[in-house]
């Protein structure tokens, strides 16, 4: 786990933002937004579901345009900061092969008061879904594979 091999320094200036092939450790994402001036922290975890449109899912394979996705994450943080008063913003998205139950995406936001953290976290995950160059391929039980129907990428 990258979380263990890269120890986290408390008091870092920014939350983690990265695209990674390795398993996501939610505790590390959470720790990266800790801030003494924050009174609330909200985290969202996206996980691989075992069913899709009534069919049993064996796993997912994510493809990503990594450099562009990491740049898009920076743009999302800027846009969060224009809208709400937040302390730190973390966004981590995995790619490669994932099994049912594994974390595919984590978003964490800390703020002085909870309302800003809830709204900013919701906005960040919704924006990640529509604006990051990421694609998922579903592997169904029985061996059928297909790209999940997506939405046209927007800024």
């Amino acid at each position: 786990m990258w979380a263990c091999s890269r120890p986290w320094r408390v008091g870092r200036m920014r939350g983690i933002q990265m695209i990674t092939r390795r398993p996501i450790d939610p505790a590390v994402v959470l720790a990266s937004v800790s801030d003494d001036s924050a009174g609330g922290t909200v985290m969202f975890l996206g996980t691989v579901r075992n069913r899709s449109h009534g069919k049993a899912v064996a796993g997912l394979e994510y493809d990503v345009y990594r450099e562009m996705a990491e740049k898009s994450m920076q743009a999302i943080e800027q846009s969060v900061r224009k809208r709400w008063r937040v302390k730190k913003v973390a966004m981590v998205h995995r790619y490669g092969a994932l099994k049912v139950g594994e974390v595919s995406v984590a978003v964490a936001v800390s703020s002085e008061h909870r309302a800003d953290a809830f709204r900013a976290c919701r906005y960040a995950i919704d924006t990640i879904k529509g604006s990051l160059p990421l694609w998922k391929r579903e592997r169904l039980e029985g061996g059928v594979e297909s790209w999940v129907k997506g939405t046209r990428i927007r800024r």
Binding site: H93, I125, G130, L134, W135, R137, I153
Partner: protein
């Protein structure tokens, strides 16, 4: 001029390639490149209306003019999260 094209997800399947270089007349646009890509890979035609393009990591419209050495991403509809 020469531009580098990168294919992702369903576009990679349609082009049967991760990426390749195209040689285009000067002052070509992203739309011109898109037409060239469809000529080279007829399987791309079916998705050409839903695809968007990036130039040097930035999302662009098809009217965008290309320059020597630009890196163009061919981006099918996205499904992250």
């Amino acid at each position: 001029m020469r531009v580098k094209v990168l294919y992702f997800a369903a576009a990679r399947d349609a082009a049967d390639s991760r990426g390749e270089t195209f040689v285009l007349p000067d002052r070509s646009s992203v739309g011109d490149l898109s037409a060239e890509i469809c000529r080279a890979h007829p399987a791309m035609k079916a998705m050409s209306r839903s695809v968007r393009f990036s130039v040097n990591l930035e999302l662009v419209e098809t009217a965008r003019a290309l320059r020597e050495s630009d890196v163009v991403g061919v981006l099918p509809p996205v499904a992250g999260g």
